[in-house]
């Protein structure tokens, strides 16, 4: 009973935030503080849910039934709870950052911006708690629609064009592939519930499993698998807080989370392994990893580079699932967490650089590291985590992914992962290199260096997330223990 109330509250409180934003829109301070409180309450609720639920799998009664076998229902299990914890926890930091960012840039329509942010978080939590594909789909579409105003926020023709691509790809893939996959499962199996071990194994043969997996892998466009990845770079026209939370954490992670959940609870890892239905996905994900990293290297715009880096990192997660081994899937789940902290740090620092200097191109950032040392240090920590250097959280997920590849006897995949790490080093650390070590033109600028950081509200959140990346290295064991029942993982 407590759990039911807490779960509904966690989804409703951000919705309340949507209303509060419009209610308090005449008074921006009150509005932003109230949203902050809403964010904190939401996070607290998710913590309480996690605390009460433990690592059990708890099925809640249906919220309402649309038709026979189709109901909106929530289901608490470790994978979803971890996702919900990250999304709601990072929301607090992003909100603080967002207030600083939006005010420093004196953006218009701030009320709409923060209001739809609340809506997007509510949808994200809905995805995290969904007990069946139908509920998942409803919240998935709600997330797409609620983030549209955020992407199109500036209203310029660029923003409109970017947001059209964003919406176009996400809606078309979900309607054409995802929905037909769902209806196919429903007509064949008769249920859409997420069950440990999957529900389709006695209904789908080898070939139809491959087809179904294709529908889901491409249908969940938010996972940005090649060739449906281009919405993510287009979405970078959004203000940076959106890129930080939504396009590094909530939206894209909702995508890979959905794929992971579908893989584990609809297909079943064992079914994937026995039918070898996911073999093609391994190679497509590997291709996406290398392809996106290559494009990232060629990008001079910092946010575009980070966006392609995200595309490549998302495919790590898909790859982990496609390996169809318990340890690979665990690595995938872990990577959702680790990448979230790393990438949000990078985006926030990119935004801080923009706020302080209005610079967006990497080639312009020569010597900036000495002007904004804290920001660049945070960027450095985030980069190391993405690359997967030990003492940072990212090391663990890469470790498990590599181990998964070893388990599956795929030498080539190990090589792909290593090459990609090298590419990460190149395209992330070159920013640091320019910032700290290159000098700006000729002349004696030794005395001219004046430290000019972004406003404090834009400075603290990236430091916090960078610190989080470091902490995660030491607490990864807990997350692994918490998640292992989902994957039937019994330890090395």
């Amino acid at each position: 009973m407590v759990l039911i109330l807490l779960t509904y509250a966690a989804i409703l409180v951000p919705l309340l935030g949507f209303g509060l934003n419009y209610l308090f829109s005449p008074n921006p301070n009150l509005r932003d503080v109230s949203t902050l409180i809403v964010a904190c309450i939401t996070f607290l609720l998710v913590i309480l849910i996690t605390f009460y639920n433990g690592s059990n799998s708890t099925e809640l009664p249906a919220l309402f039934t649309v038709m026979d076998g189709l109901d909106v229902r929530f289901h608490l299990e470790p994978l979803g709870l971890v996702f919900a914890l990250i999304a709601s926890g990072l929301w607090i930091l992003t909100h603080i950052y967002g207030v600083g960012y939006m005010r420093a840039n004196s953006e218009k329509n701030q009320t709409r911006f923060f209001a739809f942010f609340c809506l997007a978080i509510s949808a994200t939590l809905g995805i995290a708690f969904s007990a069946n594909l139908f509920s998942l789909f409803i919240f998935y579409e709600m997330l797409t629609l609620s983030t549209f105003p955020l992407v199109a926020h500036k209203g310029t023709s660029d923003a409109i064009r970017g947001s059209r691509i964003y919406l176009g790809i996400l809606i078309s893939t979900s309607v054409v592939f995802f929905l037909s996959g769902i209806i196919w499962v429903f007509t064949t199996v008769g249920t859409l519930d997420f069950r440990l071990g999957g529900i389709i194994h006695s209904y789908f043969g080898d070939f139809s499993t491959i087809l179904l997996l294709m529908l889901f892998a491409f249908g969940v466009g938010k996972a940005a698998l090649f060739p449906f990845h281009s919405w993510l770079p287009s979405a970078m026209v959004a203000p940076t807080p959106v890129s930080a939370l939504l396009h590094a954490v909530a939206v894209v992670k909702a995508g890979v989370f959905s794929i992971l959940k579908i893989g584990v609870y609809i297909f079943g890892i064992d079914h994937l392994a026995t039918t070898e239905a996911s073999n093609w996905l391994i190679w497509l994900a590997a291709f996406t990893i290398l392809f996106a990293s290559t494009v990232a290297i060629s990008k001079d715009n910092l946010k575009a580079r980070l966006a392609y880096s995200t595309v490549s990192q998302l495919s790590y997660i898909i790859l982990g699932l496609a390996l169809a081994t318990a340890i690979g899937a665990l690595g995938a789940a872990l990577h959702i967490v680790m990448h979230a902290f790393g990438k949000i740090t990078l985006f926030m620092t990119a935004g801080s650089i923009y706020v302080a200097t209005k610079k967006t191109e990497i080639s312009d950032m020569v010597g900036l590291g000495r002007i904004m040392p804290i920001t660049f240090f945070a960027f450095f920590v985030g980069s190391l985590s993405i690359i997967g250097i030990p003492l940072l959280g990212g090391a663990w997920s890469k470790w498990y992914l590599l181990e998964g590849a070893v388990d599956a006897d795929l030498l080539l995949i190990i090589i792909v992962l290593l090459i990609s790490s090298l590419m990460n080093v190149y395209y992330l650390l070159s920013v640091i290199g320019r910032g700290f070590f290159l000098k700006n033109g000729g002349g004696d600028d030794k005395s001219k260096v004046v430290i000019k950081e972004a406003p404090i509200l834009c400075l603290i959140p990236p430091i916090a997330t960078a610190a989080g990346s470091i902490l995660l290295f030491f607490f990864a064991g807990r997350i692994i223990n918490y998640l292992s029942p989902v994957f039937n993982y019994t330890g090395v």
């Binding site: 139908f134 579409e141 709600m142 199109a152 209806i183 007509t187």
Partner: protein, 508 residues
């Protein structure tokens, strides 16, 4: 203690419900003219629509409780007299039509002064009542010729309703004339078909005809009759490519007329098609299948794409909605052409869901039109800030057109795709989903202009009464409600499909 007189009256009222359904609006119409007072006419219209809505709900209850109702008009038993016959299918649609009539009558209280000259208002309401009773009559009757008469009552009054738009835009006259020509051709075809049927069977009662044309192979007369009836009703129902009258008629007619027509008129014609297919010609399944699979289904799919594409290229809100209607009719036809219980369920539930969705959209378009004196996209830029509530309601309707989960449109699409998969028609399922992407295009175009265009044009200050906004939001809530709870719509439409196919499968 109940007074015996009261119980007697109540009982006889309940017994004669079928005839009240049609008679109440039908008798109110001349009363409006007799009194000639526009205020009085509105109250009477509202009252008539309200009563017929209540009656339709009571009828639906009776059908749910006792099964199909057969009512002999004037006490003459069926093959000789006119029979009113109500099963799940028409009981369900009676609720839609009388409900939309009720909402339209409330809506027009707020807008009629802005659209129709005062001297014409009484006559406008009279025609609306006649149109309502005509459509209800088409739904309720079991007599083929009676159906023709009611169809003409509704069509003739519709021509007048459309022509009333001339007050704003003279093109309404040509639109009405177009519709008159096409509608009359349709009616002629239909009545020729009936003539052939009468020649072949010697009866006009639909169920009697059905009994008499059973046999081995349909002879030529019956085949010809079938073709004439299908084309005739297809014209009335705007089956692609017989839809050319529809966009003009919808976009130039006064808003209340457009709302009522868009949400009911074509639906009723499609009902008549379904009725003839599955209650009259069911004994010749091969003939039905040939026509449905080779003609109706391809045309339905073509309608989804072509009319959807045309809708995308419109720059006028009302015309866009009109073409979108043609494309949505395509979905209904595809559902019918599966000839399966799921397919018919999808078609029937879409008749309902699309009825309320289009009603909602036209209501919003009407208010927008009155504010800007035009419904071109370029006029509406930034509307989201100027009319936030109406824009939000429009967005809800638009999402339902696309079929976003949580709206009524999603339910229809879901069942339709399920029906396609059940038949193993992968390609058709894919076509249905792809065509909803076209709906994304044409809906999103408007949404973008509304919410991200600059709001320099404020339009004219107009005083649309609160009634209009109330009905807009009733329908907006209904659109969401029927997307979340299908216990009403799905139960009745699947029952209706079952009843229709019951007769069908007996001969299979």
């Amino acid at each position: 203690m109940a007074n015996p007189d009261v119980t007697f009256v109540a009982k006889s009222f309940m017994e004669h419900l079928p005839v009240y359904q049609v008679l109440v609006p039908f008798v109110s119409a001349p009363l409006c003219v007799l009194f000639g007072n526009r205020q009085f006419a509105w109250y009477l219209t509202f009252l008539a629509c309200f009563i017929s809505f209540i009656v339709s709900i009571l009828l639906l209850n009776q059908v749910a409780e006792f099964g199909t109702i057969s009512y002999a008009l004037g006490g003459w038993p069926p093959p000789i007299g006119i029979e009113y016959r109500i099963d799940f299918l028409n009981a369900f649609l009676l609720v839609l039509v009388s409900g939309m009539a009720l909402l339209t009558s409330v809506y027009l209280k707020g807008t009629i002064d802005l659209e129709v000259e005062r001297s014409n208002q009484t006559l406008f309401l009279t025609c609306l009542l006649l149109c309502v009773s005509g459509l209800l009559g088409v739904l309720i009757t079991g007599d083929a010729f009676n159906l023709f008469v009611f169809l003409e009552i509704s069509s003739l009054s519709t021509y007048v309703l459309v022509a009333q738009g001339a007050n704003k835009d003279r093109r309404a006259l040509t639109a009405s004339f177009d519709y008159l020509i096409m509608g009359t051709i349709g009616a002629t075809f239909f009545v020729i078909g009936l003539g052939f049927l009468y020649a072949a069977t010697g009866t006009l009662n639909m169920y009697d005809i059905a009994g008499r044309i059973q046999g081995d192979l349909p002879d030529r007369t019956i085949q010809v009759a079938f073709a004439f009836i299908l084309v005739g009703l297809g014209l009335k129902g705007a089956l692609f490519p017989l839809h050319t009258w529809l966009p003009k008629a919808y976009s130039f007619s006064p808003t209340p007329a457009a709302i009522f027509l868009a949400s009911t008129a074509t639906k009723v014609a499609i009902y008549a098609i379904v009725r003839f297919l599955f209650s009259v010609f069911f004994s010749h399944p091969t003939m039905l299948e040939t026509v449905l699979v080779n003609v109706v289904m391809p045309l339905g799919i073509l309608a989804m794409f072509v009319a959807g594409g045309i809708a995308f290229y419109q720059r006028d809100l009302k015309r866009m909605l009109a073409f979108s209607s043609v494309s949505q009719i395509g979905y209904i036809l595809v559902g019918v052409s599966f000839m399966s219980s799921k397919g018919l369920t999808a078609a029937i539930i879409h008749l309902f869901n699309h009825g309320i969705t289009k009603g909602l959209l036209f209501m919003c378009a009407g208010v927008i039109f009155l504010r800007y004196k035009a419904s071109f996209y370029k006029e509406m830029s930034g509307l989201g800030r100027i009319m936030p509530w109406t824009s939000a309601a429009f967005l809800i309707g638009g999402l339902s057109l696309i079929g976003i989960p949580g709206t009524a449109g999603f339910i229809s699409k879901w069942i339709l795709v399920q029906a396609a998969l059940e038949q193993g028609s992968w390609l058709i399922a894919l076509a249905i989903l792809l065509s909803s992407l076209i709906a994304v295009l044409y809906v999103w175009q408007v949404t973008e202009i509304m919410y991200f265009g600059d709001s320099s044009k404020k339009g004219f200050e107009i005083s649309v009464g609160p009634f209009s906004y109330i009905t807009i939001w009733i329908l907006a809530v209904a659109t969401i409600f029927f997307g979340l709870s299908t216990s009403f719509t799905l139960e009745y439409s699947s029952e209706a499909a079952r009843v229709l196919l019951n007769e069908f499968s007996l001969t299979d």
